[in-house]
């Protein structure tokens, strides 16, 4: 099944019973669209063990996501494996803030669902503007409170999610833990907001990954001064310990190639 959420963002349901039977919040799958494709990690947004499906949300900004988005219902993927990575940390009887940004909002859905069973969950979801809002209803269903932020103020609070997070903490709300999931810049900003408050903060990292299974080290990150594998040791890490600048640097390692490959694909698709 395939559904467009907003322009360029699609929700895709894939039949993958071996993954759905074992999937847990915070885990990911690795996908190849075709024999020549890249191996790309995708966060598990939802799944049904009984019906055997998993759900991912893609933003068509790169070569692989465009290829994925162009798949028609009924087509198959060359490869899909998972689940990979550690499930989200467990907490009980706490007040938790989950922060999601843009197309990263669906990624906090399974975490909110899992944590809201035994905790009070406040979700802060941020977008560019009112037209790019997605997963608002779904997040609402698994959160006790939802705060919307838009960059231009066209809906909810004006500003970034990190601003909304700061506002919440400044207002004196008692918060036990924060999860930030989205673009690296957003996670870094949220981490900086919570640090002075000494609130335990987790981030789910999105480093460039090749194997997804601890074999290659492409996804390595520095956490607490030590080199870690995002795929095996994460993807969830203590946000205050992550070397964000290094992560952001490494995320851009193949910028030129990505542009070139994307340009080539668009040109060929047009012909």
């Amino acid at each position: 099944m395939k559904r467009q959420l907003v322009s360029g963002v699609k929700e895709i349901i894939i039949f993958a019973p071996m993954v759905s039977r074992a999937a847990k919040a915070g885990q990911f799958v690795t996908i190849m669209t075709d024999e020549k494709g890249e191996r790309v990690p995708m966060t598990l947004v939802d799944w049904s063990a009984t019906e055997g499906w998993i759900k991912i949300v893609i933003s068509e900004v790169g070569l692989t996501t465009l290829k994925l988005g162009s798949k028609e219902v009924g087509e198959t993927l060359y490869y899909l494996a998972g689940p990979f990575g550690n499930p989200v940390s467990e907490l009980n009887s706490s007040t938790i803030v989950l922060v999601g940004g843009g197309v990263g909002v669906p990624a906090i859905y399974p975490i909110a669902r899992s944590l809201s069973r035994n905790n009070r969950v406040i979700s802060i979801i941020g977008y560019k503007n009112a037209n790019s809002i997605l997963y608002e209803r779904e997040i609402g269903e698994v959160s006790d409170e939802v705060i919307i932020a838009t960059d231009d103020g066209s809906k909810g609070q004006k500003g970034f999610t990190s601003d909304a997070l700061r506002g919440l903490l400044d207002s004196g709300r008692n918060v036990d833990a924060v999860w930030a999931i989205g673009p690296a810049m957003m996670m870094k900003a949220c981490s900086e907001v919570t640090k002075p408050y000494a609130i335990k903060t987790f981030a789910s990292l999105n480093s460039i990954t090749v194997c997804g299974s601890g074999m290659c080290g492409a996804c390595r990150v520095s956490v607490g001064g030590k080199t870690k594998y995002t795929c095996m040791d994460g993807p969830e890490f203590d946000a205050h310990e992550v070397n964000w600048d290094e992560l952001i640097l490494r995320l851009g390692a193949y910028k030129e190639e990505e542009k070139r490959a994307l340009g080539r694909y668009i040109l060929r698709s047009a012909n």
């Binding site: 071996m18 039977r21 890249e38 494996a81 074999m215 290659c216 390692a253 193949y254």
Partner: protein, 459 residues
């Protein structure tokens, strides 16, 4: 042994041509060469070669059959012990195994057993020799985890005996290190594909994309199957643990080789996976993985490709043939240098390596030469660094599995036959030994398949 005949040599493609592509370097024996080599100075044969074979191939028997031109018989006899001769003939370190024990080795002219094995394997693939035995299903089910050398031996051994085999592989291609690690120019993927096809022909059901540990636990498999074999290897790269190892254009050998081999990064942008190879590439380490990496870098356009090793030439763990091939291809070797820091330019790209000069001292009992820092440092300017400093066992299997004993290095503990601490669960290959060769892993696979068959037969 005065009038020994010279060894036959495999033809090789000229270095100037082969560094421009990924086609195979060594071309294999012709039929005439194979016959000549298999019968060369045979009057001296003492069958001592077999002492050096981890899987106990009847090498003199193979030589006799090849000398008589009975290749199919040679093949059928060979695969009873070594099921994938086209692979092992190419990747075994024969100079340290069978060929080292050959009586002619003392004169520096051992029989080229590896090249003959390869000839037999290639002949069988080219002539499409099929399994002879009809398999009678015995109603027992075995799960084989991983699809590398140890696992394919277990699968093929047990499938022949009538077991129903499900093989679980998390990647998108079966073969393990044979497909992600060893490059095309040393082991063409077409050969691995054909050997994997032989497994399928035996009825082995290969399930790709299933990470055992997270998708299904070892415990679950043990409940569902009569036996479980764990052959997931040691593919978890060690890091240098020096400042700067996460700079741009610093790769582990596994990432570099996976991008290049498995993902065909050398064909970017036809294939989607990119990789960066600069003009001056340093590879840290001197094992087979290091040789594969440095020769791959050369083929991808590095003007200078340099092996940097903390010990001396004599200690290099790589297969002798590959060191020779690397030298022919213009690879440079720097010995007794240990990286202490990776340096960067203003874009956080690696720009050089700060190295400690090392020296070798003979230990007092004379048993092992130790390498120690001299205190002097030097610097090597490079724009790409590939680290090939060893591997740790894969940690993924432990997830959700209680009672599987491992040692402090994460290697699964087994008895001499591959039995783990869990009843019905066996292991072999690098996940047990840490790091070994393809054929050593196959030897472990053989031991485990024997144990599985014995244990299930008496049950």
């Amino acid at each position: 042994m005065k009038q020994l005949t010279e060894r036959e040599r495999m033809a090789k493609r000229l270095p100037t041509y082969r560094i421009r592509d990924f086609d195979e370097v060594e071309l294999g024996f012709t039929e005439d060469q194979a016959i000549r080599e298999a019968s060369r100075d045979i009057r001296f044969c003492k069958a001592s070669c077999m002492l050096g074979c981890p899987v106990g191939v009847n090498i003199p028997g193979m030589l006799r059959l090849v000398a008589e031109g009975k290749y199919e018989e040679a093949y059928r006899q060979l695969i009873k012990k070594s099921p994938f001769p086209a692979i092992t003939g190419r990747v075994c370190p024969q100079e340290r195994q069978c060929e080292m024990f050959c009586v002619l080795a003392k004169a520096g002219k051992p029989i080229s057993i590896g090249a003959i094995e390869r000839f037999v394997g290639d002949w069988a693939l080219a002539n499409n020799v099929k399994e002879e035995a009809t398999i009678k299903p015995n109603g027992l089910k075995v799960a084989v985890v991983g699809s590398g050398p140890a696992s394919i031996v277990v699968a093929s051994d047990l499938a022949r005996l009538g077991y129903s085999i499900d093989m679980f592989e998390e990647s998108h291609m079966a073969g393990g290190v044979l497909v992600y690690g060893i490059p095309e120019f040393r082991l063409p993927k077409e050969i691995v594909r054909k050997e994997v096809q032989r497994l399928k022909d035996l009825g082995v059901n290969i399930r790709l994309g299933v990470p055992v540990g997270t998708a299904i636990t070892v415990g679950e498999l043990a409940m569902e199957y009569d036996a479980v074999f764990l052959g997931v290897g040691a593919g978890h790269p060690k890091f240098l643990n020096v400042p700067g190892e996460n700079l741009l254009n610093v790769y582990t050998a596994n990432e570099f080789l996976t991008r290049a081999n498995l993902m065909k990064g050398y064909k970017f942008p036809e294939y989607d996976t990119p990789l960066h190879v600069g003009k001056r590439v340093a590879v840290i380490g001197a094992g087979n993985t290091a040789m594969d990496s440095v020769r791959t870098a050369k083929r991808l356009g590095a003007e200078e490709a340099i092996v940097v090793y903390r010990r001396s030439r004599e200690e290099m763990p790589a297969r002798a043939e590959e060191v020779l091939n690397a030298e022919e291809e213009g690879i440079k070797f720097e010995f007794l240098l240990e990286p202490i820091e990776l340096l960067s330019n203003d874009k956080r790209m690696v720009s050089g390596i700060k190295l400690m000069k090392m020296k070798i001292i003979e230990s007092s009992n004379g048993e092992r030469r130790a390498v120690v820092p001299t205190g002097d440092t030097t610097q090597l300017d490079v724009d790409t660094v590939i680290t090939a400093v060893g591997f740790n066992p894969n940690p993924s299997l432990k997830i959700g599995t209680n009672g599987l004993d491992t040692d402090d290095m994460g290697r699964i503990k087994v008895d001499g036959q591959g039995r783990t601490s869990l009843k019905g669960v066996y292991a072999g290959g690098d996940i047990v030994t840490g790091e070994g060769t393809v054929i050593e892993a196959m030897g472990w696979g053989r031991r485990a398949s024997t144990a599985i068959n014995e244990d299930l037969s008496v049950r």
